[in-house]
């Protein structure tokens, strides 16, 4: 079973050299720590920055320079700043190659719910609906089951949707799964020490298992 950093590490293997990537809040943010050395990957922050650098050193924080999580960050040589309309323009026009984000639920046809729990305080969707509606490739980073032990990989989402038929791949503490074009979670890899049976138990949606399922190489 993987911890949060393990999930981030596995997702980092999906990132191609020379790509533009948008990382959501939470586990996706950790992915930046595991991008292979020597790869030229440009991180997009939807508040208006390409080429997001690491957090600043203490004393060098700039209130005018933040990421979409409102954290102080830095730029890198070659960074570019732009307004919010252009930021979502490049997302909508599919210039951003990969979006990695968290989710509360994913359905077997690739629907995603990650912004609203009815009856609880709703903070808003931020840029998530724009990202999932337009991204060429979406990978979801999340726990396989919720705190109540219920599967988050479902036949249909029960929570209000963020987007429909958009998720391509899911990485959890238990497995890597891809969403089949005709519906269903195809089991691609098992986390170290996790059995196919455990993954079956934790998956409520249609799980497609073909042949031997290899263990992840982390």
């Amino acid at each position: 079973m993987l911890d949060k950093n393990g999930i981030a590490k596995r997702i980092a293997q999906e990132i191609q050299d020379g790509s533009y990537v948008n990382l959501g809040i939470g586990i996706p943010t950790l992915v930046a720590n595991y991008i292979p050395a020597g790869f030229n990957v440009v991180l997009q922050s939807e508040n208006g920055l390409l080429g997001m650098g690491p957090f600043p050193l203490e004393g060098e924080e700039d209130p005018d320079l933040i990421n979409a999580g409102k954290q102080t960050i830095t730029t890198l040589p070659g960074s570019a700043v732009f307004d919010s309309a252009m930021s979502f323009g490049m997302i909508r026009a599919q210039k951003v190659d990969l979006t990695i984000l968290g989710a509360m639920e994913v359905s077997e046809n690739g629907d995603i719910a990650n912004w609203k729990i009815p009856g609880k305080m709703v903070k808003g969707m931020g840029g998530a609906m724009d990202l999932v509606a337009s991204a060429k490739n979406i990978i979801v980073a999340m726990q396989h089951v919720n705190k109540a032990g219920e599967s988050k990989l479902l036949p249909q989402c029960s929570l209000p949707l963020t987007g429909v038929r958009c998720v391509k791949k899911i990485v959890t503490e238990l497995a890597v799964l891809s969403v089949l074009p005709g519906g269903g979670f195809k089991l691609e890899e098992r986390a170290p020490g996790v059995s196919v049976e455990e993954i079956k138990q934790a998956t409520a949606g249609k799980l497609v298992i073909e042949g031997q399922i290899p263990e992840m190489k982390i």
Binding site: S45, E46, N47, G48, L49, P54, F55, P56, L57, E58, E60, E61, D62, P63, D64, L65, I66, N67, G69, K70, Q71, T72, I73, T75, V81, F82, D83, S84, A85, S87, F88, G89, I91, R92, D111, M121, V122, K123, G124, M125, G126, G127, A128, M129, D130, A133, S134, P160, L161, T162, G163, V164, R165
Partner: protein
């Protein structure tokens, strides 16, 4: 050059009336028009509809206006970084319309470009699409979203000249240039106000035609919402 300068924040917002719709630039607390918000709090104008990506925090930004019960409705993409906001929302005192961030930005852009509506895939198949026209282009569904219609846009820039030309700094640019284009009347507050000719025309982000009033803010706190640092 046409001189757009006004004396200060109080003069800039003097004719903002109860019940108006106002856009505020900024993302979180980054690049918000601090001086104009303070002037609106002082003025006590009420029943405002505020279009802003976020709603400030309890004691800064739009949060200050919420505390004075000046806001009737917020149109935002992400809110609730303050307790008073949540209290007013749950008690029904405050109305909130949540819209996708890219939709918010592009509805500003449409207003500034003189286009009545835009088509975006954001929100298709979700509750955001309820009651909206859907058009299919090249096999993909898009929602029709209307250009904003705001009485005032209030933005903050780094530098500006008396002709209203604006330059923004780093990610404090965010919604500011597109909201500047979208207001019927646009107020710009700047950290440094200079004479025409000082700013290089090639470096202007917002041309002065979009700006009706400009002044240099008295002071800027520029509060950081999430201070994150690395050790080495």
């Amino acid at each position: 050059m046409i001189d757009k300068t006004v004396k200060n924040a109080e003069a800039a917002v003097a004719d903002i009336q109860d019940g108006m719709t106002i856009m505020f630039g900024g993302f979180g607390l980054c690049g918000i028009p601090e001086n104009c918000i303070n002037a609106l709090v002082k003025k006590g104008v009420k029943n405002l509809t505020c279009i802003s990506n976020n709603a400030g925090v309890d004691d800064f930004g739009i949060g200050l206006m919420l505390h004075q019960h000046q806001v009737k409705k917020m149109i935002s993409s992400y809110v609730g970084e303050n307790a008073e906001f949540e209290r007013q929302l749950l008690s029904g005192e405050l109305e909130v319309e949540l819209i996708p961030q890219g939709t918010l930005a592009t509805r500003c852009l449409a207003a500034g470009y003189g286009m009545p509506a835009i088509f975006t895939p954001a929100g298709v198949g979700t509750e955001v699409a309820e009651g909206k026209e859907i058009r299919n282009f090249n096999g993909k569904d898009y929602l029709m979203e209307m250009a904003f219609d705001a009485d005032f846009a209030i933005v903050k820039a780094w530098k500006g000249d008396t002709a209203g030309n604006l330059i923004f700094r780093s990610t404090s640019r965010n919604f500011n240039p597109i909201m500047a284009m979208a207001g019927k009347i646009t107020i710009a507050e700047v950290e440094e106000l200079v004479e025409p000719g000082v700013l290089n025309p090639d470096h202007i982000h917002t041309p002065g035609i979009y700006v009706h009033r400009i002044f240099q803010g008295e002071r800027y706190e520029k509060r950081i919402e999430q201070r994150t640092v690395r050790t080495q």
